[in-house]
Amino acid sequence: MISQGNQAMTTPAAVVSAESFLRLEQVSKVYPTKKGPFTVLTDITLDIQAGEFICVIGHSGCGKTTLLNMVSGFVRPTTGEVRLKGQPIKEPGPDRMVVFQNYALLPWLTAAENVYLAVDAVWPKKSRPQKMAIVREHLAMVGLAEAANRYPAQLSGGMKQRVAIARALAIRPEILILDEPFGALDAITKEELQEELLSIWQKHRCTVLMITHDIDEALFLADRLVMMTNGPAAKIGEIMTIPFPRPRDRERILEDPTYYQLRNDALDFLYRRYHLDEEAE
């Protein structure tokens, strides 16, 4: 689906061997506003390996969504470059599927039709029964086989989020981008969905970029946790490697002293060094 033109456009820098799967290089984002240019992000350099699970955390408004939008292609960096397998990202595409903050399901389509729309867009040549099978498989995977023919208005928040995840996974993206997917859910549904997401990711091994506000969530899910400094002109403050072996078990992690060490470090970063009320730095 990526346009052929990209091949010819490959810059010399991108040809360098051993470039990581996804690379954000010296990326900044400046929005022109009425009060003059507003720098949201500066000096972001990040290398992500294929199959990694990355969480991004930071205070509200620091630019997390902006950062992920530059990977999905909805936002172009002001300076620097985001490259996927050496190719600069120019526009959104189904290889970088997004689970949007408010589900973004089409209300006039049933759960199954919402997923089908994506499957049909990505594999127009597949036969209808084949596409239907993919839809059913992925709805079953998120535990929604029964609700396939219901409209979004008839689904709970958790179920809607499941449909959105099924829609995203059904098209086999190389990168799955989730913007605070579980923020609006109750604690139990949230833990259920975290576990489902993890086991699905274990099976498919796509690369995941996920924004969260929840340190425990990040520690349970991520390989690495990217912690952003406060805006404006936010940077990557620290990248925490989360060493727990996989498959992860929530109880076992909670018994691990490392967990509390990491948790304290993250809390310390967010609430002492980069408390919202204080001056950054």
């Binding site: 689906m1 959104p92 189904p94 089409l106 729309l117 049909d120 867009a121 208005a153």
Partner: protein, 278 residues
């Protein structure tokens, strides 16, 4: 609604309960209508209104004939009110149908293109303020024949709400849905059928519903001015010329009833095709 309320009060006699509950919906409007007729009758009896009252309308030989013979036919300009109404309705169907097709198409174009919107919106806003009657001489001058001119007047009166509402509907497609379309790289056709149209449909129907009322108003106005064409509007004009006021009153009842039915019809389609709760 009705079924649900019957089921909820399943005890006692459901039919009686239903009647008691729905009763207010039945008898209050009837009381209202009767009250209106009584006041009208009194006002015309004590000569405050120089119009005939409802009793006179029923008693008068000519209007009574009209009431009980809606389908009589003597000549194109002398036929039953149901027939006259049907002729007017055919014109409305043509003008309104054309307005719907052109209005929705143009509305989608204008809603999709910022440049087109900026350049055409002032003209639309200007033209939509022109009253139906003002279009009559223009359309007669332009088309030179009564029949196409009448249809054009309906068309030009009813197109604006359809066009403007459709354009708003297209412009108001939520960013989320557009993002879904971008990330999936939906084809133009799929975007149109699966996102644009369903998203704009409630707005389109709002426009269609306003427009059907305007179209019906316009045809009456057009027929009154374009003498010599059969139709309920010309019937009124003709009756006025001959001072048959009771006949006019019967015709006015027809006009009101048809307008109401047309409005409800489009409202019904709206509730079927684009329910508001989704």
């Amino acid at each position: 609604m009705a079924v649900a309320s019957v089921r909820r009060n399943g005890n006692a006699n459901p039919l009686l309960k239903f009647l008691r509950q729905q009763g207010a919906d039945f008898y209050l409007p009837i009381i209202g209508v009767i009250g209106f007729l009584v006041v009208w009758q009194i006002l015309s009896s004590i000569k405050i209104l120089s119009l005939p009252g409802p009793i006179q309308v029923f008693a008068d030989e000519r209007s009574r004939y009209l009431i009980f013979h809606p389908f009589y036919y003597n000549s194109p300009l002398d036929q039953g009110l149901a027939r006259q109404t049907l002729i007017s309705l055919t014109r409305v169907a043509q003008g309104y149908g054309l307005a719907a097709i052109v209005g929705i198409t143009l509305g989608i174009l204008v809603g999709t293109s910022k440049a087109l919107n900026k350049s055409l919106d002032p003209i639309f806003q200007f033209l939509r303020m022109v009253a139906p009657l003002a279009w009559v001489p223009i359309s007669l001058a332009a088309l030179r024949q009564n029949e196409p001119a009448a249809i054009f007047v309906i068309f030009i009166t009813s197109i604006w709400p359809i066009l403007i509402n459709t354009a708003v509907g297209v412009r108001e497609i939520p960013q989320d849905y557009k993002n879904v379309s971008r990330v999936l790289r939906l084809s133009k056709k799929t975007f149109f059928l699966k996102i644009l149209l369903p998203s704009a449909l409630p707005y389109i129907f709002t426009g269609l519903r306003i427009a059907i009322g305007l179209a019906w108003l316009a045809i009456i106005a057009a027929e009154i001015v374009m003498s010599g064409v059969a139709g309920i509007g010309f019937f009124i004009w003709d009756a006025y010329q001959q001072n048959y006021v009771t006949e006019i009153i019967v015709a006015v009842v027809y006009i009101g009833a048809i307008g109401l039915i047309l409005d409800r019809l489009v409202g019904f389609l709206q509730s079927k095709i684009a329910p508001a709760n989704r």
